[in-house]
């Protein structure tokens, strides 16, 4: 069957009447093929561009997600600090009221009230020591200054809080085995002696009380640092959102440009094809005219 078809095709080609018609069809085929190649190249060029934008977009989304995670962790940390601070303040207030009474003078000491707070607050001191030693805070301060400007409120707040934090870092460096012994005391004699001593906690000159006040201030400074860093990451989030929106726009523009360029290429090539076809038909006609004249002669 195949051989029959090929021979049919060859017969058609060998027919001289059909040859000019076939040439036209082949030219149309060539035109369409060249258009297909140019369209494919245009598509490839613009799609590669879109690919790059999409990959930047994917990176931007990853950065945005990680930024959001940090922002959320700051918010969580701040709310934990706030709730811890308010519940502790309320409890301390209550004990301070009781300590002002006659019974309170016997039953509440600085070791009972303030020491546990200092102990638990200074418990997680490794991260603080590390961050202070590797200059992390200074780097963050430089980033904030770069982002908000040296004269901004954020930089002023951050620098003020950081200065206070550095001043109070001795609290974290303090070794706490002595505190540990005092807190986890299982000796009833020591408790009895505390009762008999009848030392009011409201004299405000005890070292432990002073440390407690320092810690309370430190918490406020930490809260301020977190607030400024949260603002920074909020700004980052807005910046990433803008970048994502710009990249999406770029993809849309490139996509529209692709359609326009392909349509333009088609029209341009079609015109070129028509011109070539016109000259080819004219040349065939001229050739036929010359052959006819030769035959007449």
């Amino acid at each position: 069957m195949k051989i029959l078809r090929i021979s049919l095709l060859l017969n058609l080609f060998s027919n001289t009447k059909n040859q000019s018609k076939f040439l036209t069809y082949i030219n149309i085929g060539l035109f369409l093929s060249i258009f297909a190649i140019s369209a494919a190249i245009i598509t490839f060029y613009i799609e590669t561009k879109i690919d790059k934008i999409e990959s930047n977009l994917a990176e931007a989304h990853i950065e945005q997600r990680s930024n959001q995670k940090i922002f959320d962790s700051f918010t969580k940390l701040q709310s934990q600090y706030k709730s811890y601070e308010s519940s502790t303040d309320a409890l301390v207030d209550l004990y301070e009221y009781i300590a002002s009474t006659k019974l309170g003078e016997y039953t509440i000491t600085v070791n009972d009230l303030y020491l546990p707070l200092i102990f638990t607050e200074s418990e997680d001191n490794d991260w603080f020591k590390e961050s202070m030693s590797d200059g992390l805070w200074d780097e963050i301060e430089a980033t904030i200054a770069e982002w908000f400007g040296n004269e901004s409120e954020e930089v002023k707040d951050f620098s003020k809080a950081l200065k206070a934090l550095k001043k109070s870092q001795y609290l974290f460096v303090k070794d706490n085995p002595e505190y540990f012994e005092k807190i986890f005391n299982y000796d009833s004699k020591k408790i009895v002696s505390e009762i008999r001593k009848k030392e009011s906690i409201n004299e405000w000159d005890d070292e432990i009380y002073k440390d407690y006040i320092e810690f309370s201030n430190l918490f406020k400074d930490m809260f301020l640092l977190l607030e400024v860093m949260r603002k920074l990451f909020d700004e980052y989030a807005t910046s990433w959102e803008n970048q994502i929106s710009d990249l999406n726009k770029e993809i849309l523009i490139a996509s529209n440009l692709e359609t326009k360029v392909i349509v333009f290429a088609f029209i341009f090539q079609f015109i070129v094809f028509l011109i070539i076809q016109y000259f080819e038909i004219s040349s065939i006609k001229n050739e036929k005219g010359m052959n006819a004249k030769r035959k007449i002669k």
Binding site: F13, L23, I26, L30, A40, T48, I62, P116, I195
Partner: protein, 286 residues
Amino acid sequence: MRRGKLNKTSYLLIIISAIFTVTSYVSDQLVIRYENNLRTKNFNYQNLDTKIKSLETTVSSFESLDVQTMTVISNELIQRNFWIKNLFIMESNKSYFRDIRKDLDVFIEHSFSVDNIKWRARKSTWDLIDSHVSIKDSYKLIFNQKIFDEIKFFSSEEFNNTLGGYNMFEENQDKFLIVKSFDDVTDMILNKDLDDVKLNLWWDLRNFRLLLVETLYQTTLKLEPVIEYIENDIENKTLDLDIIFYERKKINIYKNYFILLGIISQILTLVFLLLLFRSLIKQKIF
């Protein structure tokens, strides 16, 4: 030129068509290979991403539990001596406590206030045990994660046993006057009449609570290197994820290149075949 014979141009066009046909075939095969690679990379990416999310959830659970634990510890430590000092003052027969009672102008004989302190001490002890059990169970749930099989320096079983305080009384008998086991504590809290509980037993109850808090504090400290290990693991896995992300991007670009190369090769094959037919017609070879 004789009719029926192909010239050099025709042969050249046939060879070029053949080359582009082969190129198109090779490109298609490469696209299939890259597609397979991409599928594997996507699979690895999703797997790693899920692992990272699961590890992040583990760290976050540890952090939440740490806050919960520190709140329990801090609240308990503040009140650790308050009620027992009150009971010493109100109940002790020692002369200096009698003097204090005189100073306070309180003479207590089964008063409501003392009963109230005792009742609250028992209730808050039960609450503390409840919080301790709840924290212990929450940790147990976290330790079901696969990552803990990889951590060789930490035994979750040992952690659970220590946190559970199963040997608490055997190892700290010197801290108790009367109590010998956890059953003695529960018996005192749940069954004994308030009037039957002597001051020594109240002191034991105070020490039991303090020991429970100390166990909680000391045991949870052991989790610091574990959390650090998981955080490092997350960091490493995130780096791997980034590498896979860029590999995926690269494979995708190559895949697109070969798809286009395949398309263009097919079109060029067609073009050169058309040029061949055109040349054959022009040469009047048929």
